[in-house]
Symmetry: C2
Subunit: 612 residues, 2 copies
């Protein structure tokens, strides 16, 4: 009974969610050996886990707390770790990031009664088999225990602000304030270790299989025209500032001009977007660029890279590819969640008497079993309708608002047993609005089990983005000013620039954009023309234009958002869960309280004054 | 004759220095296959270079310009690259970062007369064997040529500011201004590729062999008390700033408290030290930390890491280890160059009548064959003597300034056939001064071939540093405030703090400090005591102290300066040569001119004013 109780705490600690989370990992060769996860096969396996890594080298422990098995019976071992639990001066559960080992005392010489939980101890002891009826099959070390010969308290812990029990996880704010405690949770350990191993496998793919060169580029640089707000860094030259790069874009293109024809970098990037939720002021991207390549090559490479390094099963490449127009006309967004099958139908032709579609009309068909929408959902849809300034007709109002003939025509298009929501107005607004309604309806359908959700991850490429969009002050770029126009649309660059497609591509996973890139402009004259069209002062980019003019190969590239990618790979709730020390929503560091005031000496040195 | 001339340019391009530079690489498995270097064995080898990497994947070339061999005879190939040289509309040397291939035209349809050098072309052609008398044995592709079927100019180059001829390398300033051109030089390509492969091999060592986890830590953080000046980054909160981290020190220690017991990171660090030569405002360090370890374990790990990943042969580990006191008393510096054997002798006992040595006296013995020092060297020594405020007696003045008896006693200590320089005064100043003189004398001895220089690199550990030094405002730390005192000296912490040794260690290569670290304080009370002794406000470090108090394992770590390490690995002249886009001495970016002025909008957003 005593032992039973002890094991309950272990079961709580090693939550079932973690087991599922990793069992499907395909390329986690380095990670899986040392995860915290209790792997079921492992438990049934009498053999020692054969570690390819010498995880105890350069330490004074002989084994981790997740390593001992019946084959170690009789062995003298040294374990180090945290006091996870202790009871009646007899049992001590010792934890490290590899598992938990039960240690026991057989004499009265050793007393750990007064050692607080989470203290650090070093135990010399002898491995012993547990009696058969005491075996814990849910614990990887559950067939053995360590009889303590010597116990040394290396560091006493004060009372900790929260206990490390998986099912009593504290609120995020408290976790963040004591992140050094929070990352002791097995799921946090798994996430950090998954991140490390996935990035390492990406590097191996790029360097060892395909001969890429990792090049570190500066983060202290000049402002890049257009794009997000960049942090500025004062220098001791009065009035002169660096900008923290928002991406290595200019550098990687200059590397192409410089003959580093297969470049990548796991790059730290900075954007001052603290006002947007789920954004971090600094983030990591896998930045890739290749010379003498094209759109199809890049897409093929990323397909292969993700297929081989992602920790969850992905469909066989090539991954699905749709155009931007298809994405908008079917899902109302350029990052559609295609894990459920809900698509629009274009019924504009029913509302326009001639070929020129002035009025756009799209319907979102859905299973009629859903019945009437609750007023909560109607309110949401009303909100979206007003926001987007389009006319929306709910299924229940169709008879009221449409002629019977029109209703029949639409019904024949969406099919029997389908209800539908109709939106009318400007095409872009209609689709955007219907896309937002689609997400609401999907949640509703899912809660009533009227729609099938594909739990597997299906990456989706979006291609053929427009090159430009219409901004308040003229043309704006959809991707960035270095994106090449589609050669088929080149003739419209002057006449109808908004119709010109870009050689740009995004990759989306379950409704999240996880990467994007483009074929770049390699011709200096074309680059200058595009900058002029975008009203960007080319004089700030002369070093870059000169690089294009110095003999620059055609090139293309992509950047993958590592924080988001790992979030999906780990089934994490937020990118903050896959970042060791994230900032809060407001861009504040929950540990140190940064940002902070600076000294008068700093202000003097950097020639700045604060304006309140 | 025509062909002869052509090849001269290749010989110039692929300088002999590069061949030597890489031939000794031990672990360059990924790099060597694709370097620019003409490897002699390769040239004699009829076989195709067996590439483990698919270097042409995801491109529209079929081969690189360094890849074709007689076995490809008759094959249709597509090559892409830079026009390195062309002559008489017949011969075109096509270059990429893997080599040079000679392409020829056999008809008048193809004309590349007007294509400027450094333009980018794509060539479809057929591999053909060269006539025996036309074989160039110095060129890896020297047995074949490519008969051009189709030539496409992909990007025309403007006149470039300098030619890519190794023996006409332009001045550094011009190279930096056009870095995208400069990195086309084979030696620059080699350096960037060596850097990538050495870092990859370090990651493999740490992750695959020893189970380390790479964790990315923030660079936007709070100021760390003590240490170098940190850049500040204004936020849109009035008066609040981030600091750019000078190292991940606090984070890695919090990771130890968090159970990430084997951490590393290739970390970007920032120091505002633009006024010091050969420093970059941002730099890279390999940052490592381990729990449950000690000084010997860390040293052993780094020995092994360097032995297995450094591109030049190193002696078998363990590498030499001396104490700080030995370093000072023998070489007058804590980063001695031991590639030549010149050491001091302590002769203080000759000048002190009792046991307590008030006056320190050290001699630097050197081969008497050197004879009298020139006035140039005497002036230098005079300068050093005055700077350090010590008495220095040159060999030629010994008879004049010392008694005959004293002279004989010293001569018997330094040995026959040795001249010597004597320095008298405060011990630290005497040794520092004599250490600087040692470097001067070594240059002189080397120029006259009177001293043997060990060309092999011999790493050297310096241990037993003092924990504190005396500063203007009391005690200062020698390493950083988180360094553990030597347990044997613990009793002197209050009574004689300056005598307390630290558990700190530096590693030196040929007179350059390439890394340093320490066993850290893991006890919160001791940490607070040390902060008090150092007059550092602990309230700014409460998150850190709390981490120590939450159950933090004993831990130790190190950081290696990657820029300097790669500089030595590549025999480069400066760290700027192993950084893709370095800043100038003044911290300015030679390409973009950064730092720059910022906009009024930025000033408003960040609530700052410039004080001129």
């Amino acid at each position: 009974m005593l032992r039973r109780k002890l094991f309950n705490s272990i079961d709580l600690f090693y939550g079932i969610r973690n087991i599922q989370r990793l069992s499907s990992g395909r390329f986690l060769t380095y990670k899986l050996k040392h995860t915290l996860v209790v792997n079921k096969r492992e438990i049934d396996n009498e053999k020692e886990i054969k570690n390819s890594q010498d995880i105890n080298a350069f330490t004074y422990r002989t084994h981790t707390c997740g390593e001992l098995r019946p084959m170690h019976n009789g062995k003298s071992v040294t374990l180090c770790g945290w006091v996870q639990y202790q009871r009646m001066s007899k049992f001590l559960l010792l934890r490290d990031s590899y598992g938990v080992t039960q240690c026991i005392v057989n004499n009265n010489q050793i007393n750990f009664n007064d050692v607080p939980l989470e203290s650090i101890v070093k135990i010399n002891g002898t491995v012993s088999l547990r009696p058969t009826n005491m075996i814990n099959s849910k614990m990887s070390t559950g067939k053995i225990e360590v009889v303590i010969d010597k116990l040394e308290v290396l560091n006493v812990a004060d009372k900790v602000p929260f206990n490390l029990r998986v099912h009593q996880k504290p609120k995020e704010q408290l976790r963040m304030q004591h992140r050094y405690l929070d990352i002791r949770f097995p799921d946090m350990q798994n996430k950090l270790r998954t991140r490390s191993s996935m990035l390492h496998n990406m590097r191996k793919f790029l360097i060892e299989t395909y001969g890429f060169v990792e090049v570190e580029t500066p983060t202290l640089f000049c402002r890049t025209p257009g794009g997000a707000r960049e942090f500025v860094v004062p220098t001791h030259y009065p009035g002169l500032f660096y900008s923290l790069v928002q991406s290595p874009q200019q550098f990687k293109q200059m590397l192409m001009a410089g003959g580093v024809d297969r470049y990548f970098q796991v790059a730290r990037c900075y954007r001052d977007e603290t006002t947007r939720p789920d954004r971090q002021p600094e983030f990591t991207q896998l930045d890739i660029e290749i010379s003498f390549t094209n759109l199809d090559h890049i897409i093929k490479m990323i397909d292969q890279l993700l297929y081989e390094t992602f920790t969850k099963p992905l469909p066989n490449p090539p991954f699905k590819r749709i155009t931007y127009t298809e994405a908008i006309e079917n899902y109302g967004t350029d990052k559609p969640d295609i894990s459920y099958d809900l698509r629009f139908k274009n019924v504009s032709h029913l509302f326009n008497n001639n070929d020129e579609a002035i009025l756009s009309a799209f319907v979102l068909p859905y299973p009629a079993e859903l019945g009437k929408l609750s007023s909560k959902y109607k309110d949401k849809i009303k909100e979206l309708k007003q926001k987007n300034n389009v006319r929306v007709i709910l299924n229940e109002n169709v008879s009221k608002e449409l002629s019977n003939d029109m209703k029949c025509q639409i019904q024949s298009i969406v099919g029997e047993n389908k209800a539908f929501i109709l939106a009318l107005g400007d095409k872009e607004k209609v689709c955007t609005c219907l896309g937002e309604i689609r997400q609401q309806i999907a949640v509703l359908l899912q809660s009533k089990e009227l729609i099938e959700i594909n739990k597997d991850i299906e990456p989706l490429w979006i291609v053929d983005f427009p090159l430009f969009t219409e901004g308040d002050n003229g043309l704006e770029t959809c991707h960035h000013p270095f994106t090449a126009p589609h050669p088929e649309d080149f003739h419209m660059l002057d006449s109808e620039p908004l119709k010109v497609r870009a050689l740009a591509y995004d990759i989306v996973m379950n409704g999240n954009e996880i990467g994007g890139g483009s074929v770049r402009v390699h011709n200096a004259d074309l680059q200058e023309k595009l900058l002029r069209m975008l009203n960007i002062d080319a004089s700030k980019l002369m070093h870059f234009i000169n690089a294009l003019r110095s003999g620059c190969p055609p090139h293309a590239g992509i950047a993958l958002g590592i924080d988001r990618l790992i979030t999906i790979a780990c089934d994490a709730d937020s990118i903050r869960d896959v970042i060791a020390f994230p900032k809060s929503h407001e861009g504040k560091d929950p540990l140190s309280g940064a940002p902070n005031v600076i000294t008068e000496d700093d202000k003097k040195y950097y020639h700045i004054n604060i304006v309140k």
